[in-house]
């Protein structure tokens, strides 16, 4: 039987912000932190959907500024650690990371696009020097081969990351893809391996379990799957399945079910479902967080959002490049006009 301990990191209050245009309030953050803390979740991640310092016109402005979100979470977590997502190029050490650490962050997850780990070196080094726990995250990881992923994960390890999480930011993976990558990383690295799943193709739970079975010990999951687009791996389901499989998570089942009910009632305008356009985004391998802007811009330019997603996928646009949606829409609209002449 499994006796491996799984650490669950819960980005409901970070990734979930994508689903509500980054409008989570202080009251909502406080309420969910209390519930997740009571359930025994290892790490609660808080912030703008794209992490620290990412509130912007490009990605959406956050209703609750970083310092307020973090101090609120800090005040409402007793056992759970407080985590943040940090993308170099958006967040800087002086402006964002230092003040966040002063507010009592426990876990810093420094993230880059899957091929760009070396932009994380300074942020990882700084966070380590401040004595907090540091993980590296490789986003949009489906865009590279397992061998290249390993190369980038090794860089994260060499910079001082204590764990490396590869993210299925587009919800594109099948369980075998995940298993293959975890097996390779777990056998070659000396740090913990983690997985962050999205549910565009309905496989978030299956993929996350495949990761655990292959040796991943850090798993990301959100209440009701609250996250961008079709949502993430659903935490209360994951905890239940892991329990049936004999893994230990330290999470109380009833209490995480309560936390999920509370999240549905207090955080969400709608519970994430796999909309048709999310299926396309997963197929096209485009970041799930693009769903809202693509839907809006498709309407403005009188286009089919599915065409925009496939074109973004063809152009290999990465997370953070939301501005390119407008350019692609303009090009597609122009082509459509020419086609009609």
């Amino acid at each position: 039987m499994n006796d491996r301990r799984i650490i669950i990191s819960d980005p409901t209050l970070r990734d979930g912000n994508h689903a509500v245009r980054h409008e989570l309030s202080v009251e909502q953050i406080a309420a969910y932190c209390k519930a997740a803390d009571a359930a025994g979740v290892s790490i609660v991640e808080v912030g703008h959907g794209n992490g620290l310092g990412a509130s912007s016109l490009q990605l959406g402005e956050a209703r609750t500024p970083d310092h307020l979100a973090l101090s609120t979470a800090r005040a409402n977590l007793t056992k759970s650690k407080l985590g943040i997502h940090v993308i170099p190029g958006f967040a800087t050490i002086e402006r964002d990371l230092k003040p966040a650490l002063e507010l009592g962050v426990d876990v810093v997850r420094v993230a880059s696009h899957c091929t760009e780990a070396d932009i994380c070196e300074r942020h990882i080094g700084f966070a380590r020097s401040m004595g907090v726990e540091v993980w590296g995250c490789l986003m949009m990881s489906h865009m590279i081969s397992p061998a290249l992923l390993l190369e980038q994960a090794r860089k994260m390890e060499s910079y001082g990351a204590e764990g490396v999480v590869f993210m299925d930011s587009a919800g594109h993976y099948l369980p075998d893809d995940v298993r293959q990558r975890v097996e390779l990383l777990a056998s070659e690295l000396s740090i913990a391996v983690g997985f962050h799943g999205h549910n565009n193709l309905g496989l978030a739970i299956a993929n996350t379990i495949a990761a655990a079975d292959a040796g991943a010990t850090l798993l990301d999951a959100c209440a009701r799957g609250f996250g961008a687009g079709a949502g993430n791996t659903q935490i209360e389901v994951l905890v239940a399945v892991l329990e049936r499989l004999g893994y230990s998570t330290g999470i109380n089942l009833y209490k995480i079910l309560d936390a999920a009910d509370l999240a549905e009632k207090t955080l969400m305008k709608e519970v994430p479902t796999i909309k048709s356009v999310s299926v396309v985004s997963g197929m096209a391998g485009v970041f799930s967080g693009f769903m809202r802007p693509v839907t809006r811009i498709a309407q403005e330019f009188n286009l089919d959002p599915r065409d925009i997603f496939f074109e973004l996928g063809r152009r290999k646009i990465v997370a953070g490049q939301e501005d390119i949606i407008l350019e692609v829409a303009k090009d597609l609209a122009l082509r459509a006009t020419k086609g009609n002449q």
């Binding site: 016109l57 490009q58 190029g89 800087t92 402006r95 696009h113 070196e121 501005d323 390119i324 350019e327």
Partner: protein, 294 residues
Amino acid sequence: MRKLKVAIIGSGNIGTDLLIKVLRSPLLECKAFIGRNLSSAGMVKASSLGVTVSAEGIDYILKNPDCCDLVFDATSAKSHLEHAPILKKLNKLAIDLTPAKIGLMSVPSVNLTDSLAESNINMITCGGQASIPVAYAIGQTQTDVEYIEVVSSIASRSAGPATRQNLDEYIKTTEDGLKEFSGAKRTKAILNLNPAEPCVDMQATIFAKVKNPDIPKLSEVLLGLVAKIREYVPGYEIILGPIVENDRIVVMARVRGLGDYLPAYAGNLDIINCAAIAMAEEYARALPKTGSDK
């Protein structure tokens, strides 16, 4: 016409591309190409072009103070802090391509003449050179510019180790430049690296929050500025906007480089070099016409 004698310190990609541009300029003459290692790719290239090379760093200028009138510094912010007082003492003009930001921030299409009065000028950042003219146009034509944000996308291959180590400095310097030239209350700079093959051209998207957007006025001023930029960066074009979308002004610029030492997609590196050359040529034009120097 008398040429302005220049030296380049820093033999990396930026310095070497700059050298090719200097050699093409009818107003500039490269008297020394200075690095730290004679076998580096840049030094080998410079030697092959018949340019005097040195591995002595700033010491070369100290030992040969008459070799040049102007120094392009393409080293690092830290090194420029050491070089600047030395160059000042030797009475050399300095064009700083690092984010050291000691001198006046210069964007040729906007403050060419002001820059001429200074002996040390700073070229801000590549994203700054691409976006500040647009931010300036917004500042000139809109009332109550609450906020300006610039998102640059560059090809991963065009970002060398120094760029990757210095993202924070890039962000800070670009934000300062945007604020200075636009008068916006708040500014933000974001950098995305895209690894797609074939490599993507450098692009910058400028977003602004203003009270009552006046797009016709902005378009008109922008048109004039773009014409000026294209005089020194022919591959600069506005590919979208100005439009108002989702309550923001949006303008997108694309920069194709000249493809000198660096590939054409690296418009980010090209534009800062083209801007530096434009400034140096302006200094050259200001030389006394009756000079007897040879």
